[in-house]
């Protein structure tokens, strides 16, 4: 079994699937590239705080992640969320699959749609700019 795992990891590695870790800056650059090379931290911040009505309540990214992305958050189902800002959480924005997954899930949760490549690029630019 152990060898099977190693073999699998090797194959995945050779195929070049995004299993390797990146730095948050590299991640932001990749997303900016997908958005035509531009990313606005200011627009990202506005997106983070943009409120939409859902089931009679105003919700935003900040509902779970709090108004400070350096702080611990809490899911609607009572789980703690580690800080979003890389400065407060070095493991954040280092796994492309995770970043993709949470954009997919959470843009739908809050905005009831996918986020655009530009919105994602802006969002990451803002998270990186948080000091």
């Amino acid at each position: 079994m152990r060898y099977a795992h190693t073999l699998f990891a090797l194959c995945v590695g050779l195929l070049g699937l995004p299993t390797h870790a990146e730095t948050p800056a590299e991640m932001a650059a990749t997303y900016a590239q997908a958005a035509g090379g531009k990313a606005s931290a200011e627009a990202g911040k506005a997106l983070y705080f943009r409120e939409v009505q859902k089931n009679g309540k105003a919700i935003s990214c900040a509902t779970c992640h709090t108004k400070d992305p350096k702080a611990m958050g809490m899911t609607l189902a009572f789980r703690e969320i580690n800080p979003l800002a890389p400065i407060a959480n070095p493991r954040r924005l280092t796994d492309p699959k995770k970043v993709d997954k949470w954009f997919r899930r959470n843009c739908d949760d809050v905005f009831s749609r996918e986020c655009t490549p530009q919105e994602k690029a802006d969002y990451l630019a803002w998270l990186l700019s948080v000091r």
């Binding site: 009572f78 789980r79 997919r104 899930r105 949760d109």
Partner: protein
């Protein structure tokens, strides 16, 4: 009352000794705890948003139905790639109330005649009976939030301890 303290003490001591070994060695078998073997994918994909609810609290058909509708999961998008979803479905159904062998799971399954396809643990016959004295307003208390927050009252829920004597309902 005074004369009976010794047997009680002995009994307590015996229970203290017996519990960890039951929990540690015999898996879900005869334990009073609701135990489930750990699963990395379940922990990562599901338990990052909510408690790792024990698979033994729903029937296998309920888990199958739930896993078939993850993009609309109790109001959230919990979608994941197909391979991971398949792995987690296998894990959940293998340890479901009507598939697992533990005494806790068997109890849930015994009452689960009408629970086929039920995807809310709080709507299973077993859960409803066990919580029939808790008024719906209790779950809305700030320190609880909703019926989904097992750990608010069952502090040991995450390690499978739902003993009613240890329940402490926040005011």
């Amino acid at each position: 009352m005074k004369h009976c303290w010794l047997p009680r003490l002995v009994l307590s001591a015996l229970m203290l000794c017996a519990l960890p070994s039951v929990a540690g060695e015999h898996g879900e078998g005869g334990s009073r705890l609701l135990l489930t073997p750990p699963n990395k994918a379940y922990k990562e994909e599901c338990a990052s948003c909510h408690m790792a609810y024990p698979p033994g609290l729903l029937m296998a058909s309920g888990w199958q139905k739930m896993m078939g509708g993850l993009n609309k999961h109790f109001g959230s998008n919990a979608s994941m790639d197909a391979a991971t979803a398949k792995e987690i479905t296998q894990f959940l159904t293998l340890h479901a109330a009507d598939r697992a062998t533990g005494r806790f799971q068997s109890k849930v399954a015994r009452e689960g005649g009408r629970d086929a396809g039920v995807i809310r643990i709080s709507e299973t016959a077993w859960f409803v009976r066990k919580h029939d004295e808790v008024s719906p307003s209790v779950y809305k208390r700030k320190a609880i939030g909703s019926v989904a927050n097992c750990m608010a009252c069952h502090r040991g829920a995450e390690r499978g301890d739902y003993d009613e004597h240890a329940v402490s309902i926040p005011r």
